[in-house]
Amino acid sequence: MDGPLRPTKRPRLALFELASCAGCQLQILNCEDELVDLLQLVEFVYFKEAISETGNEYDIALIEGAVTREADETRLRAIRERAPLVITLGACAHPVGIPGLKNAHDSEEPGRLVYGDAAGYFPSTLARPVDAIIPVDAHIPGCPIHKDEFLSVVTALLVGRRPPIPGYPVCVECRLAENPCAFDRGALCLGPVTRAGCGALCPSYGSRCYGCRGPADDPNVSSFEALLEKNGLNAEDVLAEYVLYNGYRALGDQALTMEVSR
C-alpha cells in the first residue's frame, strides 16, 4: 500500500569509493533480506561492487573512503555539484578512520614502506575526511557501517526526516546492554567520548571501544583524559588512543580535542 510518506519518484543513488577497504559497500550488499524492498524505494545508478551500469545523474551521492590524493578532491567537487545530497559511509570518510593512521608519520614514510622505490608513482596527501573538502549532509558512521543504520538513514531521508544518528556516547548503549565496563576489566575504552549507534558492539563481545564512530556530540574531553591518565596513560598514549580512527582531527588540531562533528 502506498503511504502518504512515499516519494513520487525513486531517488537515484550513486556510491563512490575513495581510500577504503570497500567494507561499507559490502554492508549494503549484506542487506540481503531487505534489498528487494530497498530497490523499490531507490535506484542505484553507480555502485561498482554491485552493478556494471554507470549513470551520471543522481540524487544522493554516497561516499566511502578518505581523501588521500589531489584527484580525489576534484572528483568530490564534481560529485557535490551534481548531488543534492551527499552522505558519507563509514569511518574513513568521516572522521578519517584507518587511512588517517599515516598522518601520524612523516609524509614520505608510508609510501616508502608500501611501494619502496616506486613510491614516487603514487603521490599521496594527508588523509582527510570528505567534509574537509566539500560540505556533507549526513555521516553514517562506523567501521564498517551497520546495514540497519544504513537502511534507517535512507528511509529517513526518503520521508524527510533527519538521519537518526545518536549524538550521545557509546556508554549509554553499553550500559543498556548490561556489559561489564571495560575500565572495570582493566581495559581502556573510548566509549565515554565516542558516538553511539553501534549498540556497543565491540564491548558486548568482550572488547572495548576504539572510537570508530567518531566523537559524540558533547564529550567531556578534559575529564576523560584525566581518567585515562589516572589509568596510567600519559598525553602521548592518550593521543595514540584517538589516532586509530580520529587521526585527522586529533593530529590536525595538535591539541587533544576531539572536535564535535555535525
Binding site: T155, C171, V172, R175, E178, N179, D218, L227
Partner: protein, 348 residues
C-alpha cells in the same frame, strides 16, 4: 497471609520446576556483571550478588518498548501495543522492590499508563532480603529501603538450610501453593527470622550524615553550592548513572518506519537527563546545557523532586550509579559534602 518455611533444597527443586514451565528471571553472573535474565534451573542463580547491572524495572519499562503500531495509506490505521509477557522475577533486593513500588505509584496510580499496567499485572515479584551490605557504595540503610513490607508477592530470607518465605499477595500464595516440603512458619521460625534481622541491622551502618527525609531540605538549600560546578567538570555525561538507576524512568519517544514506508511503530526508549539533547526544544535551544546543571538535576530528582511529588524515596541507596561512574560521582559523598560544607555555598 501465613508465612512459610521451606528447606532450600525443596525451594530449588520448586524453582527448577517453575523455570521449566514458565519464564523465571533471576540474577545470573556473567563474568563480573550480574543481570536479571531468564533461567532454566535454580543453580544458574548467582549466590551472592551485588545489585544487577540493570534494575528489574526493565521488565516493566523495557529499554525499548513499542507503544503503537500503525499503517499509513488512504486511511490511517493505528492501535496500541500492550505487550505483556508472564514472568516471575526472582531474587529482587529490597532496594529494588522499593523502586518498583515508586514506579507503580507513578505509572499506575498517577499516570494510568496502560503499557506499564499491563506488564505489571503479568509480573510476579519474588524478593530476596539482604542480610549483609553489598559494599561501601550501598546506602539503603540510610535511605530506609533495607526493610520492605509491601509490594512483593513473596519475600525470601535465607536462613542457611532453610528459607523463610513471607507471603505478600494472593498471587504469591497461589504460586507457593505448589511447593512441596514447605510448612507453615512456626514461632521458632519467626524467632530465627528475628535473629537474622537483628544480625542484619547490626551489619548495616548509616552512610549518610542526614536522614533521607532531610534530603529535600538539604538539596533545596544547596541550589547554589559550588560542589555542582566541581561535579560538572568531572561528569562525562555518559548516562551510565541514569541507565542503571532503579528509580530513573525518563524516556524518549520516536517513530520507526518499515521499508514499505507505510507500516511502522511508535516506541519509547530509555533516555537520560545527563545527555545534552535531553532538554533541547525544536529550535535547538537546550534548557539544561551546563553539565553542572545536569548533575544537579539528577541528584535533586533522586533526593528531592520525587520525594516532594510522590512522598517516596527517589533514591533507594542501591549504589549502582556510584559503581557505574567512571569519575567517582557518588551520591553518598555528594549528600554528605552538601551537609558538611555549608560554607561552600555562594550567595546569589
Amino acid at each position: 497471609m501465613l508465612d512459610r518455611m521451606v528447606p532450600k533444597a525443596d525451594l530449588n527443586r520448586f524453582i527448577d520446576r517453575l523455570a521449566s514451565e514458565q519464564t523465571v528471571a533471576a540474577p545470573v553472573a556473567e563474568g563480573p556483571s550480574i543481570r536479571f535474565q531468564a533461567i532454566r534451573a535454580a543453580h544458574e542463580i548467582a549466590e551472592h550478588y551485588l545489585p544487577t547491572a540493570l534494575p528489574p524495572s526493565k521488565y516493566l519499562l523495557p529499554v525499548k518498548e513499542t507503544l503503537l503500531q500503525f499503517r499509513l495509506g488512504e486511511h490511517i490505521e493505528m492501535e496500541p501495543v500492550l505487550e505483556a509477557p508472564e514472568v516471575i522475577v526472582f531474587g529482587i533486593r529490597p532496594c529494588d522492590l522499593h523502586a518498583l513500588a515508586l514506579l507503580d505509584a507513578i505509572f499506575i496510580d498517577d499516570k494510568h499508563d496502560g503499557h506499564y499496567a499491563a506488564r505489571r499485572r503479568r509480573i510476579t515479584l519474588v524478593g530476596m532480603e539482604c542480610l549483609e551490605p553489598c559494599d561501601d557504595r550501598c546506602f539503603c540503610h540510610s535511605m530506609e529501603t533495607l526493610e520492605v513490607h509491601a509490594n512483593y508477592d513473596l519475600l525470601l530470607t535465607d536462613l542457611g538450610d532453610d528459607v523463610y518465605v513471607a507471603v505478600g499477595s494472593p498471587k504469591g500464595r497461589d504460586l507457593f501453593a505448589g511447593l512441596t516440603g514447605a510448612r507453615e512458619a512456626l514461632y521458632e521460625d519467626r524467632t530465627r527470622l528475628r535473629r537474622a534481622h537483628e544480625a542484619r541491622d547490626a551489619a548495616f551502618t548509616p552512610r549518610l550524615d542526614v536522614s533521607f527525609d532531610q534530603l529535600p531540605g538539604l538539596l533545596a538549600e544547596s541550589a547554589d553550592s559550588l560542589l555542582w560546578d566541581v561535579l560538572g567538570e568531572k561528569c562525562l555525561s555518559c548516562g551510565a548513572c541514569t541507565n542503571v538507576c532503579p528509580t530513573c524512568y525518563c524516556f524518549d519517544v520516536g517513530d520507526e518506519l518499515d521499508l514499505d514506508l507505510a507500516t511502522g511503530r511508535r516506541y519509547r526508549t530509555w533516555d537520560s537527563c545527563q545527555l545534552d539533547a535531553f532538554a533541547m526544544v525544536g529550535t535547538g535551544e537546550s534548557f539544561r546545557k551546563p553539565r553542572a546543571m545536569r548533575v544537579k538535576h539528577r541528584l535533586n530528582r533522586k533526593g528531592r523532586y520525587i520525594m516532594e511529588r510522590y512522598g517516596r524515596q527517589g533514591c533507594v541507596g542501591c549504589g549502582r550509579c556510584a559503581r557505574a561512574c567512571l569519575v567517582d560521582i557518588n551520591p553518598i559523598e555528594v549528600f554528605n559534602q552538601l551537609k558538611g560544607q555549608p560554607a561552600s555555598r555562594t550567595v546569589r
